[in-house]
Chain length 135, copies 6
């Protein structure tokens, strides 16, 4: 009897899309305004979804206070109000697209979770664009 | 050619999280403010999702008027403006976490549906926490 | 040059609508399911709006960190996960309708604000019902 | 490493639900107010979800500018501000239920996509009713 | 001590924008796709806001059950699933723009309200366009 | 008979909060993480509200296509995917708080509007913080 429980969170960050192996012209051709060298930014809205069995003692798949603590440490403290390109090691050589950010967040939360639980990340870059990643 | 059709609904209820086998201290340690013996409450927002084939005569997976009637009887009349711990038989010996409420709602709707249809419940306890259950 | 800045917050609570001068029948006639003696509850979503001049040194009408602290102490710590009828002194003799809750919240925040600032409260009892109060 | 990227879009249209093989009475019995011969209408909110591998050069599953162009041509230019029953060839002999509209949109976008990508359509007929279709 | 209480509602309708004193060319020049003679449609989302004193016996500005009944009769029964141009007398000689629809709804609700109460209508034609009218 | 019509729009930008007359310590004390010298960013959601008489020929307060064009030129082309501190002249000596951004947007749209129309700007910096400015 698998149930999925989800918790919303959010952070703000600056980034630019950029491939260092390409010319500036090629970067602008592919990434358009998103390659602005002065950066732009987003309010990232995050949904962390955990799937597992209901614990009969608590009625919980996972205590949300524990999940909130993991999100605080792995996402909020690490990414909020940061420049993703300049300040986050994972993006030194990885383009901070919403796809790649979701993979980074998934990995950071995954390592803090019980192996029996499944994890899915939904990440909104804007209210109109979002990605889902389940490992 | 399977299509999923979803209908939103909502109800309000009071509850507390509580395990009668534990001391008050242990209940407070695990459930925090949610174990307040005077109860607190939520606006539960519900999404009922039905998967099946499109009927070629109607173009419907299921007539939404029929689904609305089932939700009215199985969820709204049964749970709306109720105290889940005190008034709902399923929670006499089951902690009314959002996980367990979703399982109860799933079972109540499942028994009214054609066996060929699949059912998934999404239940928001707050705009920031929600669960999904598919049986 | 008056600007209004708003901050959203939220809390959960149980309540019942009840006039102790009326019979149970009259209470049920006027308040319907909302007079359930076992209580029901809501996720209250709150918008606190502050109007004033922009401070030329900060570019702020008011520092939102300071406003968040006031909301935390005056609303969240005081009302969240509470039974409004049983646990909140203001509602010992005042019916906890969304109108009256908004007036109580307005008064509690008003006394912590600089007299030059105007205050408006918007309080959602459900996503479909809300009140506004400006003193 | 499959990631799903989604883009929201929207269009407005008029329609009526109607089965030409049935009497008007039977149409009204099954479709109710939705069979009004003078038509009614909706704001359709669309989510187009594409699943595939992240391209290591771009960090994209698919360039959203390309996806926006496909949605513009296949959905917006074709359906926006139209009468579905009278003006859209697919619905000459197909009831324009939200289920059938989602299948038509899926087919129109599918033929423009790289075969390696998976496609899912989520279509809201109202903020309270929606369907999902993945082929 | 004036408080404003608001209630959300919704209806669907078909319409076209059209000035019978103008040529078809002029109608298309001014109204664009909205002048399609085959009609298009919208999900209209409505907020009805009532301002008045709190009744000390009930704690209500106005009983929402009474307001829901007025909205049902004056808006839902009258406009839902209708063709505004063909079926609603007010629009026989009045262009059914969202501005004019809000004025019609305001007038229909106003005549059912106590004279001491103030009324404001907010009407969303789409999630991105809306009007406000207070008489 | 004054009616207000509103149109939603959006743009993304990077910024930092910073007062050049203060030390870095004082900037961090007042602006916290928002003073990160590497910038952070937001999805700004904008509501432009125009109040005026309904034109009896069109049924419009203002043609929304014209308003969309003004927003495109004055806001989107000017601010979208920009670094507010480095690239927007108005913020060379003005802290790009959401209050000050709303005043800049108001001024840019105001000068393109007919003098008989009133203008109000609502600007969301995040889904939880927003300002309103009416001149």
């Amino acid at each position: 009897m698998q149930v999925t429980i989800s918790r919303k969170a959010h952070f703000n960050a600056a980034h630019r899309l950029f491939n260092p192996n390409w010319s500036d012209e090629k970067n602008f051709e592919i990434f358009g305004k998103c390659s602005n060298p002065n950066f732009h930014g987003h309010n990232y809205e995050l949904i962390v979804s955990i799937t597992g069995e209901i614990n009969p003692d608590t009625g919980f798949v996972m205590n949300l206070d524990e999940l909130k603590q993991i999100i605080q440490e792995q996402v909020d403290d690490y990414l909020d109000h940061k420049n993703l390109n300049l300040e986050i090691p994972e993006f030194k050589n990885l383009n901070p697209t919403v796809e790649n950010i979701s993979v980074v967040i998934w990995s950071r939360i995954r390592e803090k979770l019980d192996a029996k639980l499944k994890l899915k990340i939904t990440l909104f870059e804007t209210p109109r664009n979002f990605v889902e990643y389940s490992g």
